[in-house]
Symmetry: C2
Subunit: 167 residues, 2 copies
């Protein structure tokens, strides 16, 4: 993504958030917009804590409580997605202007790769009908070992074999 696209997105999401707050009779505070902007300036996935630290580093005087509160609002109005990739710490990512996607996570190095597959949409609507659920969203995570870590594991295994033979 280039800087122009980013700036455009920021304008758009601010308008969306503003409309959402108005509709819900919530206040348009400086902090809420600072947090939104900060999220849309960043890429990839982040944790509440790292977002907080980032804001502090930039001399914005916000508290953790406000960060968590605002993240909830942004998730509610669909500008941010919240994930639990198996850790106890939630991870977030901006979602406006992005194609719906899912994640593959390397269990060794924790790298996250995104992917798309249209079949998931089909499963979604079919299962919704079948089980009489009005499905709002989903989370699909694949866990495995990425190419790099596969190599690392092979090297480790080879080392172990050598050790065994030399003792």
């Amino acid at each position: 993504m280039n800087n122009n696209q980013r700036k455009e997105h920021i304008e758009e999401v601010k308008n969306i958030f503003s409309a959402y707050l108005e509709q819900k009779d919530l206040r348009r505070t400086t902090e809420r917009f600072i947090i939104l902007e900060e999220i849309y300036l960043r890429d990839d996935h982040f944790e509440a804590e790292s977002l907080y630290e980032h804001l502090i580093k930039r001399k914005y005087n916000v508290s953790r409580a406000t960060v968590y509160n605002t993240l909830d609002l942004l998730v509610a109005c669909d500008l941010v997605k919240k994930h639990q990739f198996g850790k106890n710490q939630a991870q977030y990512e901006k979602s406006y202007g992005y194609k719906q996607h899912d994640h593959i996570i390397c269990v060794d190095c924790k790298k996250v790769v995104e992917f798309c597959d249209p079949r998931i949409q089909q499963i979604k609507s079919m299962m919704g009908d079948l089980l009489n659920f009005k499905i709002t969203h989903h989370s699909l995570n694949m866990y495995g070992i990425c190419g790099n870590c596969q190599k690392k594991r092979e090297v480790e295994a080879a080392k172990k074999e050598v050790d065994k033979q030399t003792t």
Copy 2:
């Protein structure tokens, strides 16, 4: 599942766990087998804490630390699955003798329903090949509103409408 099936399963999983512990040079302690048995006597999903409380209620003198430790071992040898359904508390379920399945969670009442779809296996192997990941497992959760809660929401909405007209 009837009681005979359950008992058979318990014997089988104990053997599997026993073999796993031997292979990994870990000890076959009483606690580890008590916990395994307790899990396979239960149905559905459970949290570490509720398993712990259940064991205490039955006068088994186990500690939380041992419960967590044993759950990790059981996840590692694939006798138990660990889930993060969006809460900060992990949920577990026994997995031996069960068909692989995924979950639909009601965001209102938190009810969990299981479903199967073969397409997810296809996505899994295709994406593994494509991105050069050796995929070990996955987690697919759909979130939405179940039939009951849809009705409840309609009733709520109707009430609100009446309130509005009478004021």
